[in-house]
């Protein structure tokens, strides 16, 4: 299994089910949040089944709360395992974040300080999660809105967690740009330092300036096309590490499928330019 490294995919939105199913684009693949399919039946499972019969699908989980205080949620793992065995995703990823505490699920990705204690906690839980799924996962760097007192940089933290848990990295280039802007680190230096061997997938997406304070605070909204400086970071990364399965995310103000596919074509150009140069 796995995804072809030189081909870009798009996040699957319910508005696009029919267009996604009927698309003839070469090698196209899709990514979904498995939590949206944790239902007993109905059209969304039927659509995913039909699309999966033609295309590779990747699972990008949002609710495992790997960095959280509660034990891993048994019901969530059971549902996830059932979806994994039904849809056989090419990749499974989760977030370096937490989203539940005291039994309450908050529906957002909360940050964690980059300390040795947090690294040990996350490594232990990635280990439990990978064992429960019987699969290696990728973990995604977060979009940060808060600077927390830390012992190490985010890139050093991720490198340590990946090395010691055996998981890979899903590098979200937009999140690097947003976090660099919001918490004050150098995005180019981050992209140049990350170990390409850990990276199993790359995300690109759009962000927007905060409505109250403007560009001092960028929000990872997935509500706009990929911004120019994020394309530049993406090109810089791919030129250095070579092609990786790349996913275009769009979750709000969703344009027609054809428009997303045009944006995806730009990522495909970056990937094929690198492949030819190699």
């Amino acid at each position: 299994m796995g995804l072809p490294p030189s081909i870009a995919g798009v996040g699957l939105k319910s508005e696009h089910y029919r267009a996604a199913l009927e698309s003839t684009a070469d090698g196209l693949w899709f990514e979904v949040h498995p939590e949206n399919y944790m239902v007993a039946g109905g059209p969304r499972l039927a659509w995913l089944e039909a699309i999966r019969a033609r295309r590779p699908v990747s699972f990008h989980g949002v609710a495992a709360s790997l960095a959280g205080p509660d034990p891993l949620d048994k019901a969530h793992l059971t549902s996830l395992r059932a979806l994994v065995s039904r849809f056989e995703p090419a990749l499974i990823s989760e977030h370096v974040a937490w989203s539940a505490a005291g039994g309450v699920y908050y529906g957002d990705l909360f940050p964690l300080p980059y300390t040795q204690e947090a690294a040990r906690h996350l490594i232990d839980r990635i280990d439990q999660f990978q064992i429960a799924l019987g699969r290696r996962i990728l973990i995604e760097n977060p979009a940060s809105y808060l600077t927390l007192r830390s012992d190490m940089s985010e890139s050093a933290f991720l490198a340590e967690v990946c090395a010691r848990s055996g998981c890979g990295l899903l590098l979200d280039v937009n999140n690097i740009y947003v976090s660099a802007n919001n918490t004050g680190f150098d995005a180019d230096a981050y992209v140049d330092a990350v170990d390409g061997g850990m990276i199993g997938e790359v995300h690109i997406a759009g962000h927007e300036a905060d409505s109250a304070v403007g560009r001092a605070l960028l929000i990872d909204s997935h509500a706009a096309p990929v911004a120019a400086p994020v394309w530049a970071l993406y090109e810089r990364l791919i030129a250095r590490i070579g092609p990786r399965p790349t996913l275009l995310e769009r979750d709000a103000r969703v344009p027609p499928f054809s428009e997303l596919m045009e944006e995806r074509a730009r990522a495909a150009d970056v990937l094929s330019a690198t492949r030819e140069a190699a």
Partner: protein
């Protein structure tokens, strides 16, 4: 877990819950960033409830809905790791919400939204087709137990709101808003047929017939229940209507199918 990370988790939850500066020990500049996470949580909750209760939202408007969603979140935060079916207690919550007392039928509209969602997400099962019963001997047929399709929901409401609900569900400005709801009982059936949720308001005899089937009655017994509810009812028409709806499933005979 103990130590600094546990203290941080606890402080962060207090921060997103609205406490002023619980993160001072963990961040030099918490205010701005915490607001983003707090907004993200509320927006996830609000959009889950908005997608699960669209008719309620359209009826009360965005501002009222947002405020109700925030209060509901305090009372009944999500306890499972998906928001696809979030808000199972929202109808009862609206019944009791002081700000909603000027629209006392809001909870009834919410019950129809909820039934729509449940029908939409219910397990798959083959629906019974009219031809499936045509081959059966009439006496065996009367003893047959026919279950409702797993997506079928029979909802009895204390207000006559089905038309109001349908109009607010339509997202069509040309659908005229029905007049105020009357405080009378109304029963509706919602079910999924070929991937689409269907709905209709039921007459008393139909409601009694379907409820009897749902409770395990034979077809004959359900017919008698229909007649008890409305002596003038045309039972064969009710049976035919139920059969062609796709709201019935899997057949089993009381003594086996011999």
């Amino acid at each position: 877990m103990s130590g600094a990370l546990a203290a941080y988790h606890d402080a962060f939850i207090r921060a997103v819950s609205g406490e002023e500066t619980p993160l001072a020990a963990f961040s030099a500049c918490e205010g701005l960033g915490v607001r983003v996470y707090r907004n993200n949580v509320l927006s996830a909750i609000e959009s889950a409830l908005a997608s699960n209760y669209p008719a309620v939202r359209r009826l009360v408007g965005e501002a009222f809905f947002l405020s109700a969603a925030r209060t509901y979140f305090q009372a009944a935060p999500p306890r499972v790791r998906t928001l696809t079916a979030y808000g199972d207690a929202f109808p009862e919550f609206l019944d009791a919400l002081p700000e909603a007392q000027s629209t006392p039928y809001l909870g009834a509209v919410a019950r129809l939204d909820r039934a729509w969602l449940e029908a939409h997400l219910a397990p798959e099962a083959a629906a019974l087709a009219p031809g499936d019963l045509a081959v059966m001997d009439e006496q065996i047929l009367a003893q047959a137990k026919i279950a409702l399709h797993p997506s079928a929901r029979i909802i009895t409401l204390g207000w006559r709101v089905y038309e109001i609900w349908r109009a607010n569900r339509a997202y069509d400005a040309s659908v005229t808003q029905p007049r105020e709801a009357a405080p009378e009982h109304e029963t509706a059936l919602l079910w999924r047929c070929v991937g689409e949720v269907q709905s209709r308001s039921l007459r008393a005899a139909e409601a009694a017939f379907l409820r009897a089937l749902a409770h395990g009655s034979t077809l004959g017994g359900a017919g008698e229940a229909a007649l008890r509810a409305a002596p003038e009812a045309n039972v064969s028409e009710i049976v035919a209507g139920a059969l062609s709806s796709g709201a019935l499933a899997c057949i089993s005979n009381e003594e086996g199918a011999q």
